[in-house]
Point group: C2
Chain length 373, copies 2
């Protein structure tokens, strides 16, 4: 977003019709602008209206406003991750407002930075939207990015980006973090005897998604904004966990400071992500069913859903046994199991000592590639 | 692309039909795999086949293979830029092979890093493609990324990414660079008396695009792969300048070392980008028509096209007068004008002392938002 140097004429293209998540107050309250679209005002004018709403980054040495930004890496290292959200596979506009999308796009990338034990410092955002997208929608998306940074990672901000037209609304975020002189917390450091712990919700995002598919649709099964609004008021926690996740970003640094031996963010579900730690570390992770249920706040009947459900973006970590049950773990971490030696089956996920074989995990290729709402 | 840990079953989805740029040799030569598509094999298996083709980065301290990569910033600073390419507004599959697209996506981001006076170190690549995209196409795109890094910025590589399904082929690249202890070369440092110089082609990419629109189409004006192949053999330089630009990446560092006072990459054309330097620096840039034509390798009748044509990704810089005409400029830089005091009209682009008013520049919103080929 370094090119906002000239302004095109104000256009008056038509707004997008259809079943859209209700706009929240705050985005695009200038009535003169409400009918402007990305196509009618053009990239440069749209950027001139978006950029002031974006959060600044304390790591910025230069930018936005040149070919590239220059960021500080005081310890000589920086953490980088990228994640893209696509209309259709990743979200429905009947369920998510543009502000929700901005919030989630930031939150999911921040959690990957946190899972390295780093403090998030900056984002760059490449946004592609249909030409008929109201500029006020782009402003709302910027507001969501700003709110996520303010709530989850104060000091982190947007240092650059790109704005394009595309038939498919697409949000690509790259996030940066500062290890502050610490070693990164990798996924391959879990050792036999460590405790397994989680910070943040377990299974809530998947529960929210299941509720949305089941109840935020009209009679024909098509995603419906009014039904989604009703569902939000009835199941605010689960729906928010899916649409505007609040990962425990600060607990990434806290875990690193407490000596976490491995960590990752639960993007694909406890089953799949715990196996990643197990395989990378050459160990098995043995979860305690009761502890998992307690951490998830559910009864035993929900255990399988909790273990396979994805998109919580909670932090899964292992800690040396000295900080085990009865001892305090950092931040919001709760013990849910132990690291044990891999058995004959090789590194695996166990529950109560028995191999948990269900694949689980979120796969947008399999599970959400149908019609777009 | 940190999640390639398991493999789905090999599928046998059908290949994409239609008028496509001819596949070049080297991508997907394993016949067992030629019918695999992104949708049939899934994200993890596709990544497992793409990742080995990606170039490594010498700046990598960790990754890919975890939640995030860790990169080195030896002087405590790093340069960041991002740019997205969208099927339709930015390219036609009848004209660009997947390898071309990978090459261009890397090259255009590398030039933004170079324009800061930095050495490119790493890329992250978020790729979204239709489910029916052959995996061999994704491999070819990876080959293009690798070749661009090898040719333009040896040592630079891909340290992470994301792979998604989308109805619209979308390539979002974020590029990183190392200032190696130097100050960044900004756009606001041009001083009266400096010489204006350019390294790389001028107007060639726009000429190539005009030729493609005119002659790489069928009788109905629809982009056509066979006509594009013919055009390539007749006008290899102009077509390559548009489809696989080779910006003078190393000249970015050379310019910084030679004391460049301002620099940017010519993404939007000489007219628009020269005005950016002029406005940011509070000066005017006065181009010498004959010198511009000589630098562009064209006669005077082509001057207007050369000045407004975009997408060359050449480097435009200003240097202190001590390095002016008769003196040697670094790398491939050639003098095309002088920095002068802004006149009554304010900071402007002049040609031969007269204000050049045409807006010029590439605007995908205005000029290329029609049908997709």
């Amino acid at each position: 977003m370094s090119e906002a140097e000239s302004s095109g004429p104000d256009g008056d293209g038509a707004g997008v019709e259809g079943t859209r998540a209700a706009a929240e107050p705050g985005g695009g309250d200038d009535s003169k602008h409400t009918l402007d679209t990305l196509g009618s005002v053009g990239e440069l004018d749209a950027l001139a209206r978006i950029i002031p709403r974006l959060p600044p980054s304390e790591a910025t040495m230069l930018g936005p406003g040149d070919d590239a930004a220059v960021l500080a890496a005081p310890d000589g290292l920086y953490v980088v991750t990228t994640d893209m959200m696509i209309h259709g596979p990743d979200f429905r506009l009947a369920w998510s407002s543009m502000r929700d999308l901005g919030f989630k796009a930031a939150a999911t990338n921040l959690s990957d930075v946190a899972a390295m034990g780093a403090r998030p410092t900056a984002l760059v955002v490449a946004l592609a939207a249909p030409a008929e997208t109201p500029v006020s929608d782009l402003e709302a998306l910027a507001d969501g990015l700003r709110e996520a940074c303010a709530e989850l990672a104060p000091g982190c901000g947007v240092v650059g980006g790109d704005l394009s037209v595309s038939p498919t609304l697409t949000i690509a975020v790259t996030a940066f973090g500062d290890l502050e002189g610490r070693e990164p917390v990798r996924r391959d450091g879990a050792r036999v005897g460590d405790v397994v712990a989680v910070s943040g919700p377990l299974g809530a995002a998947a529960e929210g998604l299941a509720l949305l598919f089941e109840r935020a649709v009209n009679g024909d099964g098509v995603p419906d904004a009014r039904a989604a609004a009703r569902l939000r008021s009835e199941h605010p926690v689960a729906v928010a966990a899916q649409l505007t996740p609040h990962p425990p970003i600060a607990d990434g640094v806290a875990a690193a400071l407490a000596g976490a031996t491995s960590m990752l963010d639960l993007s694909d579900g406890l089953a799949l992500d715990a196996r990643r730690i197990a395989r990378a570390s050459g160990v098995s992770l043995d979860l305690d069913a009761a502890a998992v249920c307690m951490a998830a706040g559910v009864d035993a009947s929900r255990l399988p859903h909790v273990i396979v459900g994805g998109e919580d973006h909670s932090l899964l970590a292992t800690f040396p046994p000295a900080t085990g049950p009865g001892q305090s773990l950092p931040g919001g971490f709760r013990v849910i199991g132990r690291v044990v030696e891999a058995g004959a089956e090789g590194p695996a996920l166990l529950v109560g000592g028995r191999v948990f074989a269900a694949r689980g995990g979120w796969d947008s290729f399999d599970e959400w590639s149908g019609g777009v709402g």
